[in-house]
């Protein structure tokens, strides 16, 4: 999965998005444990879960008054759809098994998300996209 275009789109709006997140003390993706603690066997499943999370829950609550930001969010969202489709092919070939750890980790991320009001949670999740991209590219 090439994250190049997603990262380019995110870099263009990162400062803008992160400036809209007033709650610095909390994290959606990294609390209580970093993504880096996820076992390699669970990586594909967590990645697919997270793509679905962003597509279903995050992007739609991130619309702004800034046309440039909205266009970049659209670019990222559509790239996520393309990437999730390719990951879906892995799932069909049973190469994307969901272990207990990934299920727990994803439940924690959802709990973190639902612990905030939806717009703050969505904006914070979008602002943490580089955490996801770094983790995906590190392996």
């Amino acid at each position: 999965l090439s994250m190049t275009e997603i990262r380019a789109g995110f870099s263009a709006i990162k400062a803008n998005i992160q400036s809209r997140d007033p709650i610095r003390s909390r994290s959606i993706l990294s609390h209580p444990h970093s993504l880096h603690k996820v076992k390699s066997s669970d990586r594909c499943c967590i990645t697919h879960h997270l793509f679905t999370f962003y597509v279903d829950k995050v992007f739609k609550h991130c619309r702004t008054e800034d046309s440039f930001v909205n266009r970049k969010i659209s670019s990222i969202a559509n790239s996520f759809l393309g990437a999730r489709r390719r990951l879906g092919q892995c799932r069909e070939q049973n190469n994307c098994v969901c272990g207990e750890e990934s299920t727990e980790k994803f439940k924690q991320i959802l709990a973190n998300y639902e612990g905030l009001n939806v717009t703050s949670a969505a904006m914070k999740s979008l602002g943490e996209l580089d955490i996801l991209l770094d983790w995906m590219e590190k392996s």
Binding site: S2, T4, E5, G9, V55, D56, F59, K60, S67, F68, N70, R71, S74, S75, A77, N78, S79, F80, L81, G82
Partner: protein
């Protein structure tokens, strides 16, 4: 109202080497300057954002009948595009391009390649085509077509050293592009051959 100004027609996309342009026929109103606005809708907007449309600011109230949509077509999914005409406060209905556009259908042309012999050195120059492009070069010594060598390049620097040639021998090169984002390659460029400096008869 809107009915006075017809919607733009003949809306289509010209897409070559991952550069995508929307074009349409002008709406003619005698003695007046008609302007146009363009919007796009990706698969995400259709399926997850209530079919919303996103304006392209660079092509809002433009007098041109072409719009560079490349920055917004940045995912390999199906997009829809629409244009409307505007004259003062009057706006036409939206003219929507028939069908969808997916960048996977872009036409890929062979790279512009120049092959040079600098003494015994086989060099090539490639025209830069943007970050989406990789280049695959095949090169061989003439007469040894079965021993083709390959070099894949992600970034293009001005001149690339391919090989050190045997004195007086002739070497041939051809190249194609590859776009990872759509997993497609162009056809090969025409083969170009150059001869290394020196006399082939000098053999011990």
């Amino acid at each position: 109202g809107d009915a006075l100004l017809p919607a733009p027609q003949s809306i289509s996309i010209l897409s070559t080497n991952m550069k995508h342009f929307l074009t349409w026929s002008p709406v003619i109103v005698q003695g007046a300057t008609v302007r146009y606005s363009v919007e796009f809708q990706g698969e995400y907007e259709r399926d997850y954002a209530n079919g919303s449309w996103i304006p392209i600011s660079e092509c809002s109230l433009t007098t041109a009948t072409v719009c560079d949509i490349t920055p917004d077509i940045s995912a390999t999914v199906a997009y829809k595009l629409r244009v409307r005409a505007e004259l003062g406060a009057t706006r036409s209905r939206w003219g929507t391009m028939k069908g969808f556009f997916n960048r996977v259908t872009t036409s890929l042309t062979p790279p512009l390649l120049r092959v040079l012999a600098d003494g015994h050195h086989l060099l090539v120059e490639l025209a830069d085509m943007g970050p989406a492009f990789q280049f695959r070069l095949l090169y061989w010594k003439k007469g040894q077509e079965s021993r083709v060598q390959q070099k894949v390049m992600r970034e293009v620097s001005s001149v690339v050293h391919l090989d050190t040639m045997e004195a007086g021998a002739e070497y041939c090169v051809k190249a194609q592009t590859h776009v990872e984002a759509i997993d497609r390659s162009s056809s090969f460029s025409p083969t170009q051959c150059v001869r290394a400096q020196g006399d082939t008869s000098v053999r011990l």
